[in-house]
């Protein structure tokens, strides 16, 4: 004990001195940092939001040329629904509504399939115990990462090979169309749904499922009474995400759609090939509105629930 006393560090004698210069400098840096923090997102988002805002703005612009503002009008929206788009004869409201209808049908069917499969994938990855599980878990992110163009081309080749084989074997005349678009959409949507639901499942306390089984529920009832109600916000969010992605998808649809099965984004692209007209601004604004509503609902569902649990 005698030795330890000598080893103990002693407090410095006298009053404590502050370096006023250093304090002033650091306070200034802090103030600049605070201003920077406030402005940073504005700079970061400028190139994201400015074009979209311009698009929306010019869809109400009373001028055929895109560059200048001449006053407010709903003329272009009226044109879109009255079968007149500039001087372009190939536009027809009918065709537009038909491709919109196609988009909705493809979206709904693909969403239902992708949500079901995606949820099942998430469940097996979160709860299952089988060899190669970690590899599969990693592969889940593949469709999110690989370029859409690659996915589109690979799906096109795949469908050609399969359709050739089927047509030759069974003597049918199956071709690209709704089926191939839906399968293509399901293919990439499964990943998105699975990722969202998987996140939800790993947040869930696995003891809850044990508690249910302890209280006499078999696996089936445990799933429907405990697991599913707890992941349902994730399932809904995942399905809304899938529906939006499906509705907006251009690249993959472009590759795998057949003659006569045009979705809305592919239709709009067809119009663009000739010229950018204010009516296209109007259609794009409407698509934007629909997508925003869907994603907004998805985020609301996810967010509200994150607070609840």
């Amino acid at each position: 004990m005698e030795q330890t006393a000598a080893l103990t560090p002693r407090p410095a004698p006298g009053a404590i001195e502050f370096n006023q210069g250093k304090i002033a400098r650091d306070m200034l840096i802090r103030r600049i940092g605070k201003i920077g923090l406030a402005f940073n997102p504005i700079f970061a988002y400028f190139f994201l939001w400015a074009p979209i805002l311009l698009l929306v703005l010019f869809s109400f612009n009373d001028s055929r040329t895109v560059a200048t503002w001449r006053g407010f009008t709903l003329q272009w929206y009226a044109n879109v629904f009255n079968n007149v788009v500039g001087t372009e004869a190939r536009f027809s409201t009918n065709l537009m509504l038909q491709s919109f209808g196609n988009s909705i049908v493809v979206g709904i069917v693909a969403t239902i399939l992708a949500t079901t499969i995606g949820t099942m994938v998430a469940l097996s990855l979160a709860r299952g115990n089988f060899p190669g599980k970690r590899l599969l878990d990693g592969l889940l992110f593949l469709p999110v990462v690989i370029p859409e163009i690659t996915q589109g081309i690979s799906l096109l080749i795949f469908f050609n090979v399969v359709l050739d084989f089927v047509n030759q074997t069974f003597g049918t005349t199956a071709q690209l169309g709704f089926g191939s678009i839906i399968i293509g959409h399901v293919a990439f949507n499964v990943s998105y749904v699975a990722i969202v639901v998987r996140a939800r499942l790993s947040d869930m306390n696995p003891k809850l499922e044990e508690a249910a089984r302890d209280l006499g529920a078999n696996e089936w009832r445990t799933f429907w009474r405990v697991t599913f109600p707890l992941i349902v916000p994730g399932v809904i969010a995942g399905s809304l995400l899938a529906f939006t992605l499906s509705l907006d998808d251009f690249v993959i649809t472009f590759f795998v759609s057949g003659v006569g099965t045009t979705t809305l984004p592919v239709f709009v692209y067809g119009l663009l090939k000739l010229s950018v007209t204010p009516e296209i601004n109007a259609i794009s604004t409407l698509i934007l509105l629909l997508s925003t509503l869907l994603i907004g609902t998805a985020m609301l569902l996810l967010g509200r629930d994150a607070v609840k649990l």
Partner: protein
């Protein structure tokens, strides 16, 4: 009531091995555990974290399958019975209440799973169970997150008990509660267990909790059951160094057996210090064997080597006379030492006494009067003594 004790749970040589992710390593979480738990017993599995107590409980509940061995529930082997068909229920450490259901729905869940109980009865029994754990009807329709930890604990208890299980399993149920609430819940659990007569198997790492609540305790370490016995047996006659060390505070003195007879062994700590201690008659000692002597701090008494000794009854003795009087009792072991540390801890003062050739003992003396009356200065010469039966010879 039959005199024959009825066995609720029996474990026969139960082993649980966990295999690593790619199968290259194995850990034995539970290592040949055999236990019999009688009906109506409050039985605790006590041990440090990772000792296999929770795994043992999970095997009884059915969440884990034993690698080998047998688990019998009222005489029937249950290895192949899934948890939802076993008449046991669990209170989980973190309660595991269903967050999307109200308190009442949580309690009703288990009865709904039984399929043959009419709805009004389910509701009535669930309400009864909640009332039994002192929840008020106004609280029945709240979600778990609106309750405090203690209240959630009660709901979890009601949810398990409403099933009228043969055995209730409790996995460190009070671990998350603060000290005061924990003491309250301990008392409530004991009362409830007495009233219901249900067998409780209680997993805890808190030795004080186990001593307070249990009829019997199994002390576990590294997957093995080291000792099974009543709290008194476990505390007073530990069978191993680990048990003595894990339960309460203990002094360990190392030495060699010089002679032994009956239950009394003389152990030489160093050249100058032979002491006597008791040993379990089933323990086969040999002279010259290396052993550990365990003595609890509160079993040791102290008096100053000089001056007079004040007794609790107000009388006093001259130190030398008192010493001679004590030494006439053959059961007393006494050594002379020096106070090395004095540590005031409120109810007691803890002294570290140095004696013999570098030996040390920690002892505690209750602070009866004002502290000054009984205080032994650091550096002062003292005598410490104890009954040889309270010192235990341990061979492992």
């Amino acid at each position: 009531m039959s005199q024959q004790p009825q066995i609720d749970i029996e474990l026969r040589n139960v082993v649980k091995e966990f295999t690593g992710r790619s199968g290259e390593f194995q850990t034995r979480a539970v290592d040949h555990v055999s236990l019999t738990i009688e009906r109506g017993e409050f039985f605790s599995l006590l041990g440090p974290s990772g000792c296999g107590k929770t795994t043992t409980l999970r095997m009884i509940a059915g969440f884990e399958a034993a690698s080998s061995g047998e688990i019998l529930l009222r005489g029937k082997a249950v290895q192949d019975v899934p948890p939802f068909h076993r008449p046991v229920n669990t209170v989980f450490q973190d309660y595991a209440l269903f967050p999307h259901m109200t308190a009442l729905q949580n309690v009703m869940f288990g009865l709904e799973m039984e399929n043959n109980i009419p709805r009004p009865e389910i509701r009535r029994r669930a309400e009864e169970a909640l009332e039994m754990v002192r929840m008020t009807p106004s609280q029945f329709h709240r979600k778990p997150r609106q309750f405090s930890g203690g209240q959630q604990q009660r709901i979890a208890l009601a949810r398990a008990l409403v099933k009228r299980p043969a055995v209730l399993l409790l996995d460190e149920p009070l671990g998350a509660l603060d000290l005061k609430l924990r003491k309250e819940m301990q008392y409530e659990l004991i009362t409830m267990q007495n009233d219901l007569g249900i067998t409780f198997i209680y997993v805890t790492h808190d030795q004080e909790e186990a001593l307070t609540m249990s009829d019997r305790i199994a002390v576990m370490n590294l997957g093995k059951v080291l000792q099974v016995g009543s709290p008194e047996e476990i505390y007073e006659t530990p069978n191993s160094r680990f048990v003595a060390d894990f339960i309460g505070e203990t002094n360990f003195l190392m030495g060699t057996v010089e002679s032994h007879e009956g239950i009394c062994a003389t152990v030489r700590l160093d050249e100058s210090t032979p002491i006597r201690a008791s040993y379990r008659s089933e323990e086969a000692l040999t002279n010259g064997q290396q052993v550990t002597v365990a003595i609890r701090p509160e079993k040791i008494n102290i008096f100053a080597a000089e001056g007079s000794v004040k007794h609790d009854d107000g009388t006093s003795d001259e130190a030398t006379a008192y010493r001679e009087k004590l030494l006439r009792d053959p059961d007393i072991v006494m050594v002379e030492g020096r106070v090395e540390y004095a540590n005031y801890i409120g109810t007691d003062t803890r002294y570290t006494i140095g004696f013999g050739n570098g030996q040390k003992l920690v002892m505690r003396e209750q602070n009866f009067g004002l502290r000054n009356d009984t205080y032994y200065e650091v550096g002062s010469r003292v005598f410490i003594f104890w009954d040889y039966e309270t010192a235990r010879v341990l061979t492992h």
